[in-house]
């Protein structure tokens, strides 16, 4: 799809109705080289997803379970990035947080990482990075469902 920013915004808002009027910010150009799962792990040069076979351009940590369940992704982020599950998405200065979304409560559809008190940072598929509120990507149909897990790790440096 070759779309202008306004066309992209219209497309995003048609898929994610909660984005409308939510003051989300587009932060990067389109890029099919990495996805939300990678971005939550601070990688912008590989597409992270569990596959059965070697797939060029796609990465999955070797010791992580190779399926798309929430539990397996929790294990993966624990193995790769030292995140651990937590109960609240509130901003805490001493912790970095990520959110995993699911439509059915079992299978991961999306991941986002927290920026500050207001925004979370998502890579939208092959599209842009955006800053958005946590529930802005929630919803039925092609939206990402709802937040199923929150994870956190101690921030390595503050300020």
């Amino acid at each position: 799809m070759y779309l202008s920013e306004s066309e992209l915004r219209s497309h995003y808002e048609s898929i994610f109705p909660n984005l409308q009027g939510s003051q989300y910010i587009i932060k990067s150009p389109l890029d099919a080289g990495y996805n939300c799962i990678a971005w939550a792990a601070d990688d912008d040069n590989l597409w992270w997803w569990p596959t059965d076979h070697y797939t060029p351009g796609v990465y999955w940590p070797a010791k992580a379970p190779r399926d798309a369940s929430l539990d397996s992704f929790v294990a993966m982020y624990s193995i790769c990035c030292e995140y651990e599950e937590c109960n609240n998405p509130d901003y805490e200065l001493e912790f970095e947080k990520i959110a995993l979304y699911s439509r059915d409560g079992k299978t991961v559809t999306h991941a986002a990482k927290q920026v500050n008190e207001k925004y979370w940072w998502s890579k939208l598929g092959k599209g842009n990075d955006i800053w958005h509120t946590l529930d802005a990507l929630s919803g039925p149909n092609e939206a990402y469902g709802k937040v199923g897990k929150i994870m956190r790790r101690r921030r390595r440096s503050v300020g």
Binding site: M1, A32, N35, C36, L46, W49, A68, G125, K126, G127
Partner: protein, 176 residues
Amino acid sequence: MKTLPAEKFRHTSHSKLSELLSAFEDYDTVPSPSDWIKDDVPSQGGQQPFFFRFHLPVEPESQGNLHDETVEAVSQFQCTETELEQRFNDFVEKWHKDTFLEASITAALTHPAYYGIIGLGERVIPLILHELEQRPDHWFVALTALTQEDPSNPGDGFDAAVQAWLQWGRERNLLK
């Protein structure tokens, strides 16, 4: 019960697929066409025909009826470059539209439009390379399926894999 005379279809490179399909309907022991495994076919005489080759998977109990090895049935579609490019572009746009916001690479690489592009055969390799150059995306699996090659290296990032395939295309004059 009528069984498939395998030899009849081993050298049918100029048959039309519709004729082949209707011929198969006369036999009782041929697997459903939906169960066939599609493969590519080498170029002939410098031409790049628009081929479909189907391997009929032979079940152990049916081997005696069919053949002592996989039966091949080959058919050929001919279409113009313009028609091919139109089909390719239609599949590409459908694929982008349906998978643009997907995190799952599995969903993208198993989308019917992606299979459709692979099914267009080796003539689309230059079109895929051009698309990869203009709008980098996960074309590596399709290119490997069509060429039986993989110039990227394990551990390459996305950008390195893209560059490896573009270099592969330039070396073969497949990329203008």
